[in-house]
Amino acid sequence: MKSKLFFLLLAVMSLTLIIACSEEVEEAAPQVEVTKDSHDDDDDHDHDEHKDHSTLEEVLERGVLKCGVNDNLTGFGVVTSAGTFEGFDIDYCKAVAAAILGDASKVEYVPLTASARFEALSSEEIDLLIRNTTWTASRDRDLGNDFTATTFYDGQGMMVYADSGYKTIEDMAGATICVLQGTTTELNLDDRFKSAGLDYTPLTFETNDPLQAAFEERRCDGWTTDKSGLASKRAEFPAAAGGPEALVVLAETLSKEPLGPLTRDNDSEFYDVVQWVVFGLIQAEESGITSSNVAAMAADPKDPGMARLLGVPYGDGKVADFSFGVDPTFIQHAIKAVGNYGEIYERHLTPLGLTRAGSLNAMWTEGGLIYAPPFR
């Protein structure tokens, strides 16, 4: 027993030593920086090894796209009983796989919790993260990610019981709020209540299921997450607990939550492909190309713009190749696989009661924010 204690002590001490040593590194860091500058070439060689080898090449070589997704959010990503994934975000994984590999089924889905997703991306567990993730400055810079484009404009909302009488956040002094761990919502919630000088208790859950159970039993007064999520939860709220009428989503939007796919920093080839797949699907909707008519359109493009988008020659001209590093017809493959932006939205989000017309997610021509830069 005594010797065991001694060794435990030894283990603790050695760990202290490691931590202490790591603190010393902090002081020594500037010196290291200097040497780094002078031996830039050497350093790049072993430090950035994976970067000479871009993710795009890796995916092409591997023949499979590793996509980090949600398995636990109705509409955006769930596992079906057959063991496959489906949802809005999932369709984007399929679109990217179709664009790069020509086959929408060549995706390896990695289901991730909110708190594990960035670790997964930075440790190269996945190539691409499409998991209803909000674009923020710290995530873009500090966590070493690159956000490609927004696929869905969301905003953080607050859902409360209708009989609670809460109309604004200001009413909610002293309330208990249910929130997911490791999300921006957790931080926004705190910002909002702190700045209003309100007291509150955050109840932080790791997954949706226990959160919903707690909310149903009125363990918390409010449930805050993205408004899309709230809408779907509200629409499907079990009748036994009062049904949708028992709930109200407050009008206030606590924060902007633009959701979209993200890649690792300094990975521009892959980044560009993902970004332009997103834009391409938006442009397809604008040009009226759907999954059903894409083959016909490709055979006979209506105008040069459409020909460029689909990667086919217009008239007798040549194919416009923007040297994305993939087949010029990549957008065409993506549309064939999942349809244009409108179709994806229609398939997964409309059934949840998220009407598109009049929202931020309408086409820019209809007053929304869904807009693609010119494909030229």
Binding site: L5, T16, V25, E26, Y166, D171, C178, T204, R218
Partner: protein, 398 residues
């Protein structure tokens, strides 16, 4: 050269020298391995400097330490540590109680009672703790909702937001801190006093007497403690006020509850799960230890005319304690580590808070080392304490 070989062969003939050589080789191999790990670790960012920055997230369960999102991440981290210690400590005490009762019950001649203990062990021990934690969370949510909360006057509020109990709250001045320190001193004084008196009694072989009344050391200690603490409380102008829980409706007509000591469903769920799960292992330890005692002990106790209860508490358990404590220590360590599973419900202990920090900062490795270090230290403290108890128990027995 040949001389060298000859010398080497004589040198290596000694077992001691050969052992030395093996160890050297082994150590060199280990050193290579460690060097490899360290060199890899050096490529990663290892500082904890980001712990100084504002945490920015709220924590639902704060105990002893006040925490707001304006505090640093260190502060958040320590709130998590306190929550871990809190749930582990309570769970260790309750699990020991439950395990002892059930261990005795396992051997009870009352078939109903022993069946309950048997079913309890077999059902609970063989399912993962994680399921049990989620199960208890669901059960605790079945407490009355806040709109139908049970109140007992203004002393206790019971709802699935938490069970509120009356509690002593420090008044808003420095006296409360002084009182805590003074209280600590009083406790030490009383312990020393009772220890000294008991020892004296042991050595002299006669009772210590005041006015013909026998004074037992423990009794004297308790008495002194009560007198001193009550007088200190009044001398310091009542540094603590009674904090009564309340259930009220806000201006919108919504019920809220606050005040008092809060026993939340999340704390309850992780506590129950840990106690009931670890209790099964302690049950088996207690049962094994009692069974390992020779049957003659029970028979001797019975022949002395002791009741079952007396023979159990006076004869059997004290003896069994000696073989109980070492495996019990292991269970306590397991319990403390298992408290990290409360990530699945909303109890913000050390592991969960660290994960949030990792997620917000994006620097995982140093936080991981910190977690490791904290758990190792907690294990060490528990081991030291149990070692102390073990020494006492074996000494008294001998």
């Amino acid at each position: 050269m040949s001389i060298f070989i000859a010398k080497l062969s004589t040198w290596s003939r000694s077992q001691k020298n050969r052992n030395l050589f093996y160890q050297l080789v082994f150590l060199i191999l280990v050193a290579f391995f460690v060097n490899y790990l360290v060199s890899k670790a050096m490529q990663l960012e290892l500082t904890l400097s980001h712990f100084e920055s504002r945490s920015g997230f709220g924590i639902s369960h704060t105990f002893i330490k006040d925490y707001t999102s304006n505090d640093s991440r260190w502060s958040a981290y320590f709130t998590g540590v306190i929550n871990t210690v809190r749930v582990s400590l309570v769970a260790i005490i309750l699990a020991t109680l439950l395990g002892t009762i059930m261990g005795v019950a396992r051997l009870s001649k009352n078939v109903l009672f022993s069946t309950i203990a048997y079913l309890y062990v077999e059902l609970v021990r063989n399912t993962p703790l994680l399921i049990q934690i989620i199960f208890w969370q669901i059960i605790f949510l079945k407490l009355p909702r806040i709109t139908e909360a049970l109140t007992f006057g203004s002393t206790v509020v019971v709802s699935n937001r938490g069970i509120l109990l009356p509690y002593a709250k420090p008044a808003e001045d420095i006296n409360s801190n002084i009182f805590v320190i003074v209280l600590l001193f009083i406790i030490i004084i009383s312990f020393v006093l009772s220890y000294y008196l008991n020892k004296k009694e042991d050595i002299d072989g006669k009772k210590f007497k005041i006015l013909n009344y026998n004074i037992n050391g423990s009794l004297a200690g308790t008495f002194v403690f009560l007198i001193l603490s009550v007088s200190a409380y009044f001398i310091l102008q009542k540094p603590f006020v009674l904090d009564l829980p309340s259930l009220y409706q806000n201006s919108k007509g919504t019920y809220l509850q606050s005040g008092g000591f809060e026993f939340t469903p999340e704390f309850g769920a992780i506590l129950f799960a840990l106690v009931i799960y670890t209790g099964t292992f302690i049950t088996e330890i207690v049962r094994g230890s009692i069974q390992s005692l020779s049957k003659g002990q029970t028979e001797a106790a019975q022949s002395l005319g002791l009741t079952n209860y007396q023979s159990m508490t006076l004869i059997i358990l004290p003896q069994a304690l000696r073989s109980i404590i070492p495996p019990l220590t292991n269970q306590f360590l397991n319990l403390t580590k298992n408290s990290s599973l409360s990530v699945v419900i909303a109890y913000p202990e050390l592991f969960m808070v660290s994960r949030t920090i990792m997620n917000n900062s994006g620097r995982a490795l140093p936080v991981f080392f910190l977690i490791l270090f904290t758990y190792l230290s907690l294990s060490l403290i528990i081991s030291l304490f149990m070692n102390f108890i073990n020494r006492r128990v074996t000494r008294i027995g001998a």
